[in-house]
C-alpha cells in the first residue's frame, strides 16, 4: 500500500503562513513572533495541563483549508433566521470570518462610535489598533491565540469614545459556510473609553456547512474607567462545527464586565475567558450554561487574574449532559500579592442524564494575598428525588416533571442575562432543547 506521508498540522500551518505572509497587512514583526510561538507550542494535546480534558490535536487530523476564504453566496434570508426576535440590534455579519458590509446593518450608532471591519480598521485606524492589538490576548503560551494573531486579517473592530452609551446591542453573527473543511480565524477588537457602555451578542451560525470546520476566534476587549460591557455568546445553530474561542478582557478602574456563554450545539467547543481586572473596584461576572447530547464536547475555561485590591468576581457555570457527551469546566481564580480585599467566587454545577456522559471539572484557586474572601464549589449529581416526587404527586408526568426541574436549574444562568428580549429567546431555546 502506498501511504502518503502526512505533514503534521502544526508544520502545515506554519508553511501556510510563510506562503501568505506577504499578503497580510500590517504587524509583520508581531505575526512572525506569533507564528514562531505557535510552532514552538504546537497544537495542544492532553499532555498540556490546560488541555488535559480536551485534545485539540484531534480537530486538526483532517486537512483544513486556510486562507482562500472568499465570501460565500450568503443571502439576506439566510441571515434572517439567525436574528433574535425583538432584540432590534445593530447587526454585524461575518461570513467565514470576513466582515460583510452588505449584510451588516448598523442602527442608532452614537456619534464617535466606530463599528467596522477589522481589516478596514488596520489601515484606517492604524494608530488605535496598534495601541491595543495583541496587548490583551497573550500569544506567549497560548497556541491558538498565537495562530490567530499570525493570520489575523478580518473580524470586527468597535471603538467607543468616553461618555458614550451605546443603547442598541450589537449582534455579531458568525456565519460559517464552506465547501471544504476550513480553518476560520475571525479577530475582534473592542475598545471602550471611560464612562461608556456596550452590549454585545455574538452567535455562531452554520449554513449547510460540512462538519469539519474549525473556527478559532480571538477577541480582545479593553474596558475604560467606570464603563460597563455586557457580552453574550450564543452557540446554538452551529451543529457540526468545532469552535475554539478566546475572549480576553482588560478592565480599568470601577469597570464592569458581565458575560454569559450559552452552548447548546457545536460538536467540539472550547471557550476561553481570560479576565484581568487591572485596577481597583472592578466587577466581573462570568456565567455559563451548556446543555449537551450525542457526542458533543464542551469545555469552558475561565481565568480571572486579580491584580489590584478591592475587586469582585463571580462565576456560575452549569451543565446538563446527555448522550455520550463530555463537559469540562476549568476555572481559575488568581489573586496576586497586591490584590488584597478581593472577593472571588466560583461555582460549577453539573447534572448527568445518561450513563455515558462525562463531566470533568477543575475549579482552581491560586492565592497570594491574605486578606481575601475566595471560595469555590463544585457539585455533580442528579435531580432531587424529593422535588421529582412532589411534582409527580401533583399530577405531572415523569418527563414534564424532569423538564420543569431542569429548566429551573438552567434558569439560574439565563436569569442573569440583562437584555430582556435575549433572555426570553434563550429561555425558549432551552425549553425546546430540554423537551427534545
Amino acid at each position: 500500500m502506498n501511504v502518503i506521508e502526512k505533514i503534521p498540522p502544526t508544520e502545515k500551518l506554519v508553511a501556510e503562513f510563510q506562503k501568505v505572509k506577504g499578503s497580510l497587512i500590517g504587524f509583520s514583526a508581531l505575526r512572525e513572533k506569533a507564528i514562531s510561538e505557535f510552532e514552538r507550542l504546537g497544537i495542544p494535546n492532553r499532555k498540556n495541563e490546560e488541555w488535559k480534558y480536551s485534545d485539540a490535536s484531534a480537530l486538526f487530523k483532517n486537512e483544513l483549508q486556510v486562507g482562500k476564504l472568499g465570501s460565500m453566496n450568503v443571502q439576506k434570508k439566510d441571515i434572517e433566521k439567525f436574528l433574535i426576535p425583538n432584540l432590534n440590534a445593530s447587526v454585524v455579519v461575518l461570513v467565514n470570518g470576513i466582515y460583510s458590509e452588505e449584510q451588516s446593518a448598523l442602527k442608532n450608532i452614537p456619534k464617535g462610535v466606530v463599528v467596522s471591519s477589522f481589516a478596514k480598521a488596520i489601515t484606517e485606524k492604524s494608530e488605535i489598533v496598534s495601541t491595543h492589538f495583541s496587548k490583551y490576548a497573550n500569544i506567549t503560551g497560548d497556541a491558538f491565540v498565537a495562530l490567530n494573531t499570525a493570520f489575523a486579517t478580518d473580524g470586527v473592530f468597535i471603538s467607543i469614545p468616553d461618555n458614550t452609551i451605546v443603547e442598541t446591542p450589537v449582534h455579531i453573527i458568525n456565519i460559517i459556510s464552506t465547501q471544504e473543511p476550513s480553518l476560520l480565524q475571525p479577530r475582534f477588537l473592542f475598545i471602550i473609553g471611560n464612562n461608556s457602555e456596550l452590549k454585545i451578542v455574538e452567535s455562531f451560525d452554520a449554513i449547510n456547512s460540512n462538519t469539519k470546520n474549525v473556527c478559532n476566534s480571538v477577541a480582545e476587549i479593553s474596558i475604560g474607567k467606570k464603563s460597563k460591557v455586557q457580552y453574550y455568546k450564543l452557540q446554538n445553530d452551529c451543529s457540526g462545527v468545532h469552535l475554539i474561542s478566546s475572549v480576553n478582557v482588560h478592565q480599568q478602574k470601577d469597570s464592569h464586565f458581565d458575560t454569559n456563554t450559552v452552548t447548546l450545539n457545536g460538536d467540539w467547543v472550547r471557550n476561553n475567558l481570560n479576565i484581568v481586572p487591572d485596577a481597583e473596584h472592578c466587577e466581573t461576572h462570568l456565567n455559563g450554561l451548556f446543555i449537551t447530547r450525542g457526542n458533543q464536547h464542551v469545555d469552558n475555561h475561565t481565568l480571572v487574574d486579580h491584580r489590584k485590591p478591592n475587586c469582585e468576581s463571580n462565576q456560575l457555570y452549569k451543565g446538563i449532559l446527555d448522550g455520550k457527551s463530555v463537559g469540562v469546566f476549568n476555572g481559575k481564580i488568581f489573586v496576586r500579592r497586591d490584590a488584597q480585599k478581593t472577593n472571588a467566587y466560583q461555582s460549577s454545577k453539573n447534572i448527568l442524564l445518561s450513563d455515558d456522559a462525562t463531566i470533568n471539572t477543575k475549579p482552581q484557586l491560586e492565592i497570594y494575598a491574605d486578606d481575601v474572601k475566595c471560595s469555590h464549589g463544585s457539585t455533580t449529581g442528579q435531580l432531587n428525588e424529593e422535588a421529582m416526587f412532589y411534582l409527580r404527586s401533583r399530577g405531572l408526568g415523569e418527563e414534564s416533571a424532569k423538564n420543569l426541574l431542569l429548566f429551573a436549574y438552567a434558569g439560574d444562568v439565563i436569569e442573569k442575562i440583562q437584555i430582556e428580549s435575549l433572555k426570553i429567546y434563550l429561555e425558549e431555546l432551552v425549553n425546546q432543547r430540554l423537551k427534545k
Partner: protein
C-alpha cells in the same frame, strides 16, 4: 499592618528542633546510581533472584522516564541523581539478642526522637502501647513487640526480613497497588529501596496496639528510599502510625518512599502520618525533598482505608495518599493538615478512585501557609463508569498568614456515572482580627490565641489521629506557627 507583619515574621521563624545528627557508624555505598548499585543493594540484603529482577526492571523503566516538572505547583532545581548515596546502613547488622548490645548512640537517637526503646520494652506487659519499627537511613534497625504480635499471628517486621521470611506474601502484594511503572519516583524507589516496614494482619484479627514506624535520615548525602506494605486480611483491623525527622543540613536530601495498603473483605486500615522532615532554614537553604507515593486499595467489599496526615516538614512535599475503592461498599477517607512556613513548598492532596458500587469517600484538607511558602491542595475524585451510587464530599480550606505566602487549590473531578453525587468546596481565609481580639479580651495573648484558633481550624483532622499522635501534632502546629498574627 507593617508592624503586625514584623511580629509575625519574628514569631513564625522558629528553629527546627530535631536538627541533630547521630554519630552512628554507617556502612554506605558510593555515590551515584547505576545497575551495579542496584545489584549491590540487592546483594547486601541477600535478596532472592525475583527481588533483584523486580529492582532491575524498575531501574530500566526509570531510565526512560523524565522527572515530572510540568504540573505540580513546585519550583526546585533538577535533582542530580548521581550525587546521592543510595545505601547507608548502621554498621551493626547482626541480630541483636538484647537492647544492651545496641549501639548506645543509636539508643540516644531514639531517646531524642521521644521513643525510648528500653522503656517500651519495660512496658511490654501493659496493653495498648505502640509497637515500633525504627528506620534510619532506610534500614530498619529495630522492631519492638514482635513476639507479642506474633502470638496473634500478626507479622510486623522490616521489609528485608519479610522478603526473607514471607516471600510468598511480599511477592503477592508488592507492586500490586503502586507498580514500579506508576510514576518517576515510585520507579526510582522500586529500584533502590533499602528497607521499610511490612505488616500483615491475618483474618479476623484486630491488632491490639498501634503499629508505628519512625523514619530518620541521618547520613549526609544519602537519599532515603523505604517501602511500606500493609495487608489486612478479611475482617482485620490495624491502626498504623508513621513519624519522620531528619538532621539539619545545608544540602537538599531526597526522600522517595512508597506505601502500599491492601484491605480485603470487611477489613480496615487507618494510616496516620506526622511528617516533620527538616524543612530547610529560614532562607530556604537545605531541607528534605519529600516525593512520596502512598496508595491503598479496598480490594474487596465493605473495606475501609483512612489516611490522616499532619505535614509540617520538608522543603518540598509531593504527596498524594490515595484510595482505590474497588470493592463494593468500600470507604476511603483522607484527612490532612499541611503547614508550610518560610520557603517551604507543598503540593499535596489525595486521589479517590471510585470503581465499585456504593463506594464513599471523604476528603478534608486544611492548609496553612506562612512566611514565603506555597501550599497547594491537589486532589482527584474519579467516578468510573458503572460505579453506581458513588458519593464523595471534599472540603479544602486554606489559611493564609501574612501577605508573602500562597495558598492554592487544584481539584480534579472526573465523573462518568450519572448516579454519582460529588461535592467539592474550598475556601481561603485568614485569621480574623475579631477572633484575636476576642481572645485578647479574655486575657489570652496573641501567641496562644493563634495556637488556639489554628488548632480549632484543624480540629476535624486532628481528631482523627490516635491519642499519642494528636498531642504531638498539636504541639508541632504550635511550634510551627507560634503567634502568627493574621
Amino acid at each position: 499592618m507593617a508592624e503586625k507583619n514584623d511580629i509575625l515574621e519574628k514569631q513564625i521563624s522558629t528553629e527546627y528542633k530535631f536538627g541533630w545528627t547521630s554519630d552512628i557508624e554507617m556502612d554506605s555505598a558510593p555515590k551515584g546510581l547505576s545497575e551495579e548499585i542496584v545489584r549491590f543493594i540487592s546483594k547486601k540484603k541477600n535478596e532472592p533472584e525475583w527481588m533483584l529482577d523486580f529492582r532491575l526492571k524498575a531501574y530500566r523503566h526509570w531510565l526512560q522516564l523524565e522527572e515530572p516538572h510540568y504540573w505540580a505547583h513546585l519550583n526546585y532545581p533538577k535533582i542530580n541523581y548521581q550525587d546521592i548515596i543510595y545505601y547507608a546502613a548502621p554498621k551493626q547488622k547482626k541480630e541483636l539478642a538484647s537492647l544492651d548490645e545496641v549501639d548506645p548512640e543509636l539508643l540516644k537517637t531514639f531517646e531524642k526522637l521521644g521513643i525510648s526503646l528500653e522503656e517500651q520494652k519495660r512496658l511490654s506487659g501493659v496493653q495498648s502501647t505502640i509497637a515500633v519499627d525504627a528506620v534510619i537511613d532506610s534500614v530498619s534497625v529495630k522492631t519492638t513487640f514482635k513476639e507479642v504480635l506474633a502470638e496473634k499471628g500478626i507479622i510486623f517486621c522490616s521489609f528485608s526480613e519479610a522478603v526473607q521470611e514471607h516471600p510468598e506474601l511480599v511477592k503477592k502484594y508488592m507492586g500490586s497497588v503502586v507498580p514500579y511503572t506508576d510514576n518517576y519516583f515510585s520507579a526510582l524507589n522500586s529500584a533502590v529501596f533499602t528497607d521499610g516496614s511490612f505488616c500483615y494482619i491475618p483474618k479476623g484479627v484486630r491488632c491490639p496496639m498501634e503499629l508505628s514506624t519512625y523514619f530518620r535520615i541521618n547520613t549526609a548525602g544519602t537519599g532515603q528510599f523505604e517501602r511500606t506494605l500493609i495487608v489486612a486480611d478479611e475482617g482485620a483491623y490495624v491502626s498504623y502510625l508513621e513519624g519522620c525527622t531528619a538532621p539539619q543540613r545545608d544540602e537538599n536530601q531526597l526522600h522517595a518512599a512508597v506505601v502500599e495498603i491492601v484491605t480485603h473483605k470487611n477489613a480496615e486500615v487507618k494510616y496516620s502520618t506526622v511528617q516533620n522532615w527538616y524543612p530547610g532554614d529560614k532562607n530556604g537553604k537545605g531541607g528534605i525533598y519529600n516525593f512520596v507515593t502512598k496508595r491503598g486499595i479496598c480490594l474487596e467489599e465493605n473495606s475501609k482505608i483512612s489516611w490522616t496526615q499532619v505535614e509540617t516538614g520538608s522543603a518540598i512535599t509531593w504527596k498524594y495518599p490515595s484510595v482505590i475503592l474497588k470493592g463494593d461498599n468500600s470507604v476511603g477517607e483522607f484527612y490532612s493538615v499541611a503547614v508550610t512556613n518560610n520557603h517551604q513548598q507543598a503540593d499535596t492532596g489525595t486521589k479517590m478512585i471510585h470503581l465499585g458500587k456504593n463506594t464513599r469517600s471523604t476528603i478534608v484538607s486544611k492548609g496553612i501557609s506562612a512566611g514565603f511558602s506555597n501550599n497547594s491542595y491537589r486532589g482527584l475524585v474519579r467516578v468510573a463508569k458503572g460505579a453506581k451510587n458513588a458519593r464523595n464530599f471534599s472540603q479544602c480550606d486554606s489559611l493564609l498568614m501574612g501577605d508573602k505566602c500562597g495558598a492554592h487549590t487544584f481539584p480534579y473531578i472526573e465523573i462518568k456515572d450519572k448516579t454519582a453525587v460529588v461535592e467539592h468546596e474550598a475556601t481561603t481565609s485568614k485569621i480574623g482580627e475579631d477572633q484575636i481580639f476576642y481572645c485578647n479580651q479574655r486575657g489570652i495573648d496573641n501567641e496562644k490565641a493563634i495556637g488556639l484558633i489554628v488548632n480549632g481550624y484543624c480540629k476535624e483532622v486532628l481528631n482523627q489521629l490516635p491519642m499519642e499522635f494528636a498531642v504531638e501534632a498539636q504541639k508541632l502546629l504550635a511550634v510551627s506557627l507560634e503567634g502568627s498574627v493574621g
